[in-house]
């Protein structure tokens, strides 16, 4: 070895400062190394050492104390979805960890990157039914992309590096790391934190195989009635621009899934609306008329496809996805393009001819006209005095100019908001799409605001869902999180009621839910608000909400028995969509 090399080795050794620290501190150092600034969590016995270490890190890490662990994980989801970064959650063992399960399932099905760190009882107590012991690893296995139990502090840096790498790469998803209390307390020689870049058994994205893209381009160039349907993959792949370039060059009309919404501006001339059960008329019907169906970063959920054996049977299907298990899962594909759409789309755009499909796009407009006549107009301008959800959203669009992040809960208001909300920027529509988790909106909006502080964040919830996580008003109060809460109250669990009306002979079984005085509850948390039910007052009320300094709750009373249409009834094909 030359003297130079020797000298070099020496400096490396000197730079590699070995510190003797606790496992808990190693956790926090790992978070800092991963550029984490915000943690959502709730302390408890088994995670106390980490919280004790956190006491000295409050200048570098912003910990948000929620009111329930479910609130923490939904907030982390909201954070991840608005910021494009990985959300981080702390929870204790036993009930703390089990309260995360709904959020994990939600993040799993909606591909949201999360790293959840749970405390666990001492390693020697594992399996003894110790106080607050639960088998977190096995409980969370089906709802995590990866999980791991740490019983030795020396593993912490490498396991967390792996956790962040897995959560955020490929098709993102939630990861859970369970750390026993002894490992949190254990002192060890910390040699620094190295980010994980490769796991031999895990390939987040493949090498793009150009021959498939060439086949896709051939089909697209020869197509007369091509139709693009896209999902959240475009947003997760940060490929909004690549996607826009593709549709603009090809001139192909594009419809979004609920998760893909906002990847292109909602008023884009080639954006023809939303797919699925309560999606737009044209995109649903014309799915069964197109000759080439180009699916990008979406997974053919049953709410999108309706009856599978009558779904796009006439079309050749091209499927772009980063997850090979999605290809051919529900719909038989003619050309699979496995890869990251940020890489595959530009290649495709380069291979296709510049075109306009004027007549074909006009077909969508014909359907749009009919939908407007039969569904949208009466919803936007109801004849009676009672407000409709659609007119509230419409007015909100006008006042926010489509610039706000809208976080919806689950149910009728969600479908109405997603049908009518305008978006100009990506990552603006945050909702529980796959799992349909009521109670998602309020905590997710807290995270969404912290993930995109410069933007207006509006949580829209129904009277049912809002009550499911209403305790998070406490979090909003404590941290002064500036979220606007819009409760669309129809005094019913509206979506279930709609189904009972349509399919169960109006047998309204347990859907007449009573609500507290939401404004008074908010007042109890020192959050301002008001309730309106008159049309004349709506504009002013929404303006007050948007202009208010800090959080604000606006409860709007809407028609009790309004329905969301169009609708693809369960068991029907997309072409059998009902307008009323």
């Amino acid at each position: 070895m030359s003297t130079l090399e020797l000298a070099k080795e020496k400096t490396v050794a000197e730079n590699k400062k070995i510190e003797n620290i606790s496992g808990s501190e190693a956790v926090l150092k790992a978070l800092l190394a991963e550029n984490v600034k915000t943690i959502f969590g709730y302390p408890g016995g088994a995670i106390m050492p980490i919280y004790d270490a956190l006491y000295d890190y409050t200048d570098r890490l912003n910990h948000i104390l929620v009111r329930h662990e479910q609130g923490a994980i939904h907030a982390a989801q909201g954070f991840a979805r608005s910021s494009g970064k990985t959300g981080v959650v702390f929870a204790t063992s036993g009930p703390g960890a089990t309260n995360l399960v709904t959020g994990l399932a939600d993040a799993m099905i909606d591909s949201t990157p999360l790293v959840c760190i749970t405390g666990q009882v001492f390693a020697h107590l594992l399996g003894t039914d110790a106080f607050q012991e639960t088998d977190v690893i096995n409980i969370t296995t089906p709802v995590t992309k990866w999980n791991y139990q740490v019983t030795d502090a020396t593993e912490i840096p490498s396991v967390l590096a792996k956790a962040f790498y897995i959560a955020g790469s490929g098709r993102p998803g939630p990861v859970l790391v369970d750390i026993t209390k002894n490992a949190q307390l254990q002192k060890f020689d910390f040699e620094g934190y190295t980010k994980c870049k490769h796991i031999r058994s895990y390939r987040p994205k493949p090498i793009v195989r150009k021959e498939y893209i060439e086949q896709a381009a051939q089909l697209i160039n020869a197509a007369e009635k091509p139709f693009v349907i896209f999902g959240q993959g475009v947003i997760l792949g940060k490929a909004e621009k690549e996607f826009k370039d593709f549709i603009e060059k090809s001139g192909i009309p594009a419809a979004w899934t609920i998760m893909g919404m906002s990847a292109i501006p909602t008023d884009h001339p080639l954006g023809v609306g939303m797919l699925g059960m309560h999606g737009n008329y044209g995109p649903n019907v014309l799915t069964n008329e197109c000759d080439v169906l180009i699916a990008i970063g979406m997974r053919f959920d049953d709410r999108v496809t309706g009856r599978l054996d009558k779904y796009a049977k006439q079309a050749k299907v091209i499927h772009f996805d980063i997850d090979p298990s999605e290809i051919d899962k529900n719909v038989r594909v003619s050309v699979p393009v496995w890869g990251d759409c940020k890489e595959t789309l530009p290649i495709l755009t380069g291979l296709i001819e510049k075109k306009t499909h004027t007549n074909w796009v006009a077909r969508f407009n014909e359907f749009k006209k009919k939908e407007e006549e039969i569904c949208i107009e009466p919803e936007m301008k109801p004849t009676g005095n009672v407000l409709s959800m659609a007119e509230v959203i419409n007015l909100l669009n006008e006042l926010t100019n489509g610039e706000a992040i809208i976080v919806t809960d689950v149910g009728q208001h969600q479908m109405v908001a997603c049908r009518y909300a305008h978006f100009k920027q990506s990552k603006s529509n945050i909702t529980s799409g796959g799992l349909g988790t009521m109670g998602f909106a309020l905590p997710a909006s807290i995270g969404a605001k912290l993930g995109a502080e410069e933007r207006t964040v509006i949580a829209i919830a129904g009277d049912g869902g809002f009550q499911m996580t209403i305790q998070e008003l406490g979090t909003i109060m404590q941290y002064g999180v500036n979220v606007k809460m819009l409760v669309l109250n129809n005094n019913f669990l509206g979506m279930v009621r709609q189904w009972q009306q349509l399919f169960n002979d109006k047998r309204y079984s347990f859907v007449d839910i009573q609500s507290p005085d939401f404004v008074a509850v908010a007042k109890g948390y020192h959050i301002d608000g008001q309730k309106v039910s008159e049309r004349e007052l709506l504009r002013e009320a929404l303006t007050t909400m948007l202009n208010h300094k800090g959080a604000y709750l606006l409860e709007v009373m809407v028609g009790k028995e309004n329905n969301v249409f169009p609708m693809v009834p369960q068991g029907c094909s997309v072409a059998e969509i009902r307008l009323k």
């Binding site: 796991i199 390939r203 599978l308 899962k329």
Partner: protein, 195 residues
């Protein structure tokens, strides 16, 4: 009757992985006929052999879900023509019967059974082979007082496989060459697709 498929999974040796793989089947209410975990031709790489009765379409989708697990290197599925397989069985019979009945002795020889433990009161025989052969011997021994019987999971070798060494090298390199084909399924989508 749905056809029998043997799924071979190469994995890291990690606690909890068995569960991750097992729930892929149970979530879809698919019964695992036989499951074996063992080392593979490569140190540190584990090999699962799973037998199920399902259509090829379902098996292919299961393999993709298995492969999606972070610690799974690769999952293959094969029909019975494509593999060489064996199962092992142990039979416990009263020693007296074997000593007395010439027929039993002949039977055991016929089935290629081998005595692995001989005691005054009982003898344990071992045989290996395909399911039918093993089951044939149970039936044959039943009239003579079969005390205990146990059969192992299937172990199988894929006839066409070149082993996993080459594949592992590809997995270990951070930037595999452009000729690496990572998901063979994409190339052989077949007609067995059902909706």
């Amino acid at each position: 009757m749905k056809p029998e498929y043997t799924i071979t999974v190469y994995t890291e040796n990690q606690i909890g992985l068995l569960n991750r793989i097992a729930i892929i089947f149970s979530r879809r209410k698919i019964n695992i006929e036989s499951l074996n975990t063992s080392p593979s031709e490569i140190e540190s790489v584990h090999r699962f052999t799973i037998v199920i009765n399902e259509t090829e379409d379902v098996v292919r989708k299961l393999c993709r879900q298995i492969e999606k697990q972070v610690e799974v290197l690769k999952a293959y599925y094969n029909n019975n023509e494509e593999i060489v397989w064996q199962e092992l069985a142990l039979y416990k019979v009263p020693t007296a019967v074997i000593a007395e009945k010439v027929k039993v002795e002949r039977l055991l020889r016929e089935y290629g059974a081998r005595a692995v433990a001989i005691r005054n009161d009982y003898t344990v025989f071992e045989t290996s082979g395909h399911r039918e052969e093993i089951e044939g011997l149970i039936k044959a021994l039943e009239p003579y007082g079969l005390i205990e019987f146990v059969r192992s999971a299937r172990v199988a070798i894929i006839k066409d496989s070149e082993g996993f060494h080459k594949k592992l090298k590809e997995f270990e390199s951070e930037e595999p060459g452009s000729n690496v084909i990572e998901n063979e399924f994409l190339d052989k989508q077949d007609e067995v697709f059902m909706m």
